[in-house]
């Protein structure tokens, strides 16, 4: 991936991410989130992870975002009326975020192997999706099944939770 | 065969919980348990030391020598007999409940099952786990069906014994960790051989010794960790008080003989405070049981508290036998576990019956009961005389051995002094027992006590079973010692 595209998509991703935080209107936040994830999936593709990039769009942009928007519409949420941020939380959030960033920089600074460029890929005999599939169904079969059960439990849970006469 | 013995009460309890059966099932289960225990008793080969009738599975987890394994040796056989006898009497003293009687009966059987399992277990893990299994229904029964301040008593015993179990667990872990990695095992027999080979250096024995002694000590109500016992027994329903004080409390002592003596024999002689050794410390604590708690017992004004405290006091004698570290004392201690279990169970059975009649157990409200309930009076007298160490009963034989153990060659002068002081406890126990007997059964009958009805029918046999066994043990202690001796010799080696 060319560095220009990387910088472009990264900048966009962070900008939309910031907009998620800063927007008063939940709908706008949700749409910014979708945009941010689209840029993220572009980064994935740039890292030769095509399958992940695609399901990122399918699952997040396609399914999760619709769900978010649906709920926002359902609850008919308005933009926040009260003051956006109180000072205490601004200071706290800012301090933690900035502190975290500084530490990250410090770590990256001393993380010498991270300064190498990416090694080139060999010629693949199989495409990316098949490779992920093989890994998933051979090495990680049991966790995969478990996740399946988890999703099942989650869907049952959702149905139970959304029953009207919730005790 | 041993697993069957364990399954009888568990299956019956499960059936009762599920709503099948009735009280007859509980009685049948207890009798079956006794019959099977007796069958074991007579088929057991006394001459051989070590475990017999062993059954064990493969390790349950790869890489850890942890398996379900059961077996009996002389000591556990005696304890099993105690369990079976007390269980039989206890189920005959189940209270008449209007609802959820099955739940009550099943829980009582579960206590018995837990005790049986703990005594059968040949594996450290199950040894510990079965005891905990027995404690759960104990807490529930005291909390739900107790009398007086049952909630407070149930919480107190729950927390206190919980702490004891945790300290004990820490001690067990510490014990295993003190062994080299290659020889770590949960098998009691293998552990015993390791102990005999002095695998743990003397200096490293002292910490697990303390943890185990305090852990077991809390379970046994060793002074000064005794204050849970009397209130709990006073509040507990009759069968629970019988089973806990008679059987379950002996688990701690059984553990002392099974674990502490064989694995940590050198710890007893380690100085812990100035020139005083761990043994001296234990002697001081047990004198606290005998003299301090003995005097506290004298000051009690209610029969159930008096019996509860007296049972705490007699733990001191068993500890005295343990602390003597020789065959005479240890045999005395083990036989005394058996004898004390039977006598205190009989006492609680009688006091529970009186509570059902009168509603109160205050000495100043009772009197002259021998007139209307002579059978109860005789049973109480026999159990009381047994517990104060009257010749003819097993308690005397075992206390004699304990005292002789304290004076055996090799005894330190501190030990001899402690034994003489402990001997004074015999006078103290006579004081409170006779005062109680006089207050309840002798003197002018009170207006209510003249109307009590005596036990009838099969309950008489169930109750008489305990003092009669005590008599047997007192006249022929040699018969019981034949079972105990090889095991105890191995434990002391």
């Amino acid at each position: 991936m060319s560095p220009i595209l990387f910088w472009l998509f990264t900048a966009l991703m962070l900008a939309f991410g910031t907009s998620v935080v800063l927007n008063r209107d939940p709908v706008a936040s949700a749409l910014s989130l979708v945009a941010s994830f689209l840029c993220l999936s572009a980064l994935f593709v740039g890292l030769d992870a095509f399958f992940i990039g695609v399901i990122q769009i399918l699952v997040y942009a396609g399914a999760v975002m619709v769900l978010f928007l649906f709920i926002i519409m359902l609850l008919d949420l308005k933009a926040e009326q009260r003051r956006q941020f109180n000072r205490l939380s601004l200071a706290g959030g800012g301090a933690v975020a900035v502190g975290f960033m500084f530490e990250l920089l410090h770590v990256l600074n001393s993380f010498s192997i991270g300064k190498n460029p990416f090694p080139p890929l060999g010629v693949a005999r199989l495409d990316d999706v098949r490779q992920v599939g093989i890994t998933l169904f051979t090495q990680f079969n049991l966790p995969f099944q478990t996740v399946g059960v988890l999703v099942l439990v989650a869907s049952v849970g959702v149905i139970v939770l959304s029953r009207r006469e919730l005790k | 065969m041993l697993t069957t013995l364990l399954l009888i009460p568990i299956v019956t309890a499960a059936a009762l919980f599920l709503g099948f059966g009735n009280r007859t099932w509980a009685k049948g289960s207890a009798l079956l348990q006794l019959a099977l225990t007796l069958a074991l008793w007579f088929r057991y080969n006394q001459a051989k030391a070590g475990y017999q009738f062993v059954f064990e599975t493969n390790p349950l987890f790869p890489g850890v020598d942890l398996r379900y394994s059961v077996g009996v040796d002389g000591l556990s056989l005696v304890m099993l007999l105690l369990t079976a006898l007390v269980t039989v009497t206890a189920v005959w003293f189940l209270p008449n409940l209007e609802k959820r009687a099955n739940l009550f009966d099943g829980s009582v059987l579960l206590i018995s099952a837990g005790a049986t399992g703990a005594f059968l277990a040949k594996d450290l893990f199950f040894f510990y786990a079965f005891h905990e299994l027995a404690l759960v229904p104990t807490f529930l029964l005291i909390g739900l069906w107790g009398t007086g301040e049952r909630q407070a008593a149930a919480w107190k015993i729950t927390i206190y014994l919980g702490v004891g179990s945790i300290v004990l667990l820490a001690g067990l872990v510490d014990l295993l960790m003190a062994l080299p990695v290659s020889s770590r095992t949960f098998d009691l027999q293998a552990l015993q051989q390791l102990g005999a080979a002095h695998m743990i250096p003397a200096a490293a024995q002292i910490r697990p010794w303390f943890l185990l002694t305090i852990g077991f000590g809390i379970l046994i109500s060793l002074f000064p960790f005794h204050s849970w016992a009397a209130p709990a027994y006073a509040s507990a329903p009759t069968p629970v008080a019988m089973l806990h004080s008679g059987v379950l409390k002996k688990f701690g002592l059984y553990g002392m003989v099974r674990l502490v003596l064989p694995f940590l024999p050198d710890a007893f002689h380690q100085p812990v405070w100035g020139s005083y050794t761990a043994q001296d410390l234990l002697l001081v604590a047990l004198l606290g049981n005998i003299l301090y708690v003995g005097l506290v017992t004298i000051s009690q004004r209610k029969l159930d508290f008096m019996i509860g405290y007296s049972s705490v006091m007699h733990m001191g004698y068993i500890f005295l036998g343990l602390a003597s570290l020789n065959l005479a004392g240890l045999s005395g201690a083990c036989l005394l576990m058996f004898a004390h279990g039977l006598s205190v169970a009989a006492l609680f059975a009688v006091s529970g019956t009186i509570r059902d009649h009168e509603g109160s157990l205050r000495f100043d409200r009772l009197g002259g009961a021998s007139k209307s309930v002579p059978f109860l009076g005789i049973c109480f007298a026999m159990a009381a005389f047994a517990s104060i160490g009257l010749p003819g009963f097993a308690n005397f034989a075992s206390e004699t051995m304990v005292f002789f153990g304290g004076f055996s060659p090799g005894a330190t002068s501190f030990q001899k002094t402690a034994t003489i002081l402990a001997l004074w406890g015999v006078v103290i126990s006579a004081v409170y027992m006779l005062r109680a007997y006089k207050a309840v059964f002798l003197g002018q009958p009170t207006a209510t006590s003249a109307k009590w009805t005596d036990l009838a029918g099969s309950a008489r046999f169930a109750l008489a079973l305990l003092p009669l066994t005590l008599l047997l043990g007192g006249v022929f202690p040699r018969y019981f010692l034949g079972y105990l001796k090889p095991t105890l010799e191995a434990a002391l080696r």
Partner: protein, 108 residues
């Protein structure tokens, strides 16, 4: 322009994470907070994929284990969103609010 290194991606991932975390701390609307959580999850995904690309095996392929992990994260996140939103709906029904400062019933 310098070639891209692993650190670039890690830095991007870290920034995204920080933004998400700041959002969790700052926003009052519980749905927005939820979105910020999604941001943080995806920040983690980004670094995982970057590491996957970085560790090229002897056969010249990226390390697919990391991608499988991302796959799991996405699956679990989807389930989480579903359950979380259902809880929010139930909460809204009960309290008529999605404002975290109104939800303090777990206070001592």
């Amino acid at each position: 322009m310098n070639p891209l290194t692993l650190n670039h991606y890690l830095l991007a991932s870290g920034l995204l994470f920080s933004i998400g975390f700041a959002g969790v701390l700052l926003r009052r609307n519980i749905i927005t907070i939820f979105m910020c959580l999604e941001l943080m999850l995806n920040a983690a995904n980004l670094s995982l994929v970057a590491f996957s690309r970085y560790h090229v095996g002897a056969d010249g392929l990226p390390n697919y284990n990391a991608q499988v992990l991302v796959f799991f994260i996405i699956a679990v996140a989807a389930a989480e969103v579903a359950v979380g939103l259902a809880i929010i709906v139930a909460l809204y029904r009960a309290r008529q609010t999605t404002h975290v400062e109104d939800l303090v019933s777990l206070k001592f």
